[in-house]
Amino acid sequence: MTYTAEISRANPSCFLFLIDQSGSMADPFGVGESNRRKADGVADAINRLLQNLVIKCAKEEGIRDYYHVGVVGYGDQVGPAFSRSLAGRELVPVSEIGNMPDRVEERTKKVDDGAGGLVDQSIRFPIWFDPVAKGGTPMCKALSGAHSILQGWLAQHLACFPPIVINISDGEATDGDPSGAADDIRKLSSNDGEVLLFNLHLSSQRASPIEFPDSEADLPDQFAQLLFRMSSPLPSYIRSIAQQEGYKVSEGSRGFVFNADIVAVIRFLDIGTRPSDLR
């Protein structure tokens, strides 16, 4: 049985996000909030995701290190994208992420008052990333970097729930064919299964997203087909989460979304990072 390892403080797992920070990320999403820059949407989604991961791991005594998390940016430069006190770190225990946001903003949220009404509640909103959009799309270099980060991690965590890599991009690699580097990542494994590589293609087109496809036949261009082939098939535990969330998935479905709008980005990150067996 694969993808069944318990995730615990003694046996943590790992998430690695690869974020396209190329110049075209300054273009708006094609669907929905049409004036929203893709770079802004992705930064927001990653901040929310980190916030959710920290909250999931938080207990009364503090944050339990169930995960180590890394974010690699690629655009003008390729490298770890954390800033300030976490700058330069490749994989960071989730407790350090929770305790060291770049800043914490005050926001107001409407919440259920338990008596059928809504009340405004002030909440603190931590920020780790600001949007960046500059340079080309050196995806091959980002994937190779991810490979070496994960190789080091796996050498020390042989029995871990396999790491999950989520690559978020809006365009073609400008430094060659990324499929070899993607294959190398998917071949890495722990005793519990192979590393999962998911790809999220952001869109400036006004077309609905194609989520978790099981064939490349309906994908409109070569680049989408390439990203589909680079993506891992969904393991059964993620298929069942996706089904519960209303997605149509089959055994051949892959961790790939084409033409994602901001809603699809958030839903995909939520499904791809939901723990299977957190203890």
Partner: protein, 253 residues
């Protein structure tokens, strides 16, 4: 009626005793005679914070405050406010505040045993309420008389209905509060179990084994192993899910 009640518990593997988030009442072994006894177990949800405090509040509330059968209303509201006061005693980091805003969650199983006055204290009735997947089993000799609220191992899912310390989350949940009643006679035994143990128990029964023998013999001359060691063995065999485990055994003597 005379009863002897004793709890056995073990934290999930990898956690220490202070991280155990189930709760039971009474907190100490009880050997006594009365016309009415109340017992409860609760299972605080792992992914929420301060669920141990919430689970403890629930079992104490059920057993000490003697709520009416509905188990809702003002009492629960007071309990939620007290939880909020306890957990907000000091300034908290952003994630702890958010966790408190989300609330703690726990299952609750409560049982009341009454004497039947017409029977001179030798027979009587029982009632139970449950929300979630902590389960009650009534044994008479080698027969399983009642299983409540779940009655088979396949019914245990990862998403039970749980009672929250945040009133906003309880609007629909209370629709899932279940009740049952029955009768007892001398030498009956009641096992109140949190979900991992209850699921194991039911699977054993379904497969034709007699899981009550081990539970019955705990802390007697017939005991095979102390409870935590035995649970550890089941975890190694993957016969039981790695979770906090609680048994509250009530013997009518």
């Amino acid at each position: 009626m005379q009863v002897f009640a004793q709890a056995f518990w073990a934290p999930k593997a990898g956690n220490n005793d202070s991280e155990y988030e189930d709760a039971f009442w009474p907190g100490k072994p009880l050997h006594g005679e009365a016309t009415c006894f109340r017992f409860a177990v609760a299972d605080g949800a792992t992914e929420t914070s301060y669920s141990r405090i919430w689970a403890k509040q629930l079992v104490r509330y059920f057993c000490k405050s003697r709520p009416d059968a509905a188990f809702i209303g003002e009492g629960l509201r007071d309990l939620q406010q007290r939880w909020s006061t306890i957990v907000r005693k000091r300034p908290l980091p952003w994630y702890a505040e958010e966790k408190i805003r989300l609330g703690a969650f726990a299952s609750i199983l409560g049982v009341v045993l009454y004497d039947d006055v017409r029977c001179d204290g030798h027979h009587g009735k029982w009632e139970a309420i449950a929300l979630g997947d902590s389960c009650l089993v009534q044994m008479r000799g080698e027969e399983v008389l009642a299983r409540f609220p779940l009655d088979n191992s396949a019914s245990f899912t990862n998403r039970p209905h749980l009672l929250s310390s945040n009133p906003a989350h309880n609007n629909r949940v209370l629709e899932h509060l279940r009740r049952i009643e029955g009768t007892w006679q001398p030498d009956d035994a009641f096992y109140l179990m949190t979900d991992a143990l209850a699921c194991w128990f039911m699977r054993e029964v379904e497969e034709g084994r007699m899981p009550w023998i081990f539970l019955r013999d705990l802390d007697t001359s017939g005991e095979v192993k102390p409870f935590p060691e035995w649970v550890e063995g089941l975890r190694i065999e993957k016969a039981i899910r790695n979770d906090d485990v609680t048994l509250l055994r009530v013997d009518i003597t």
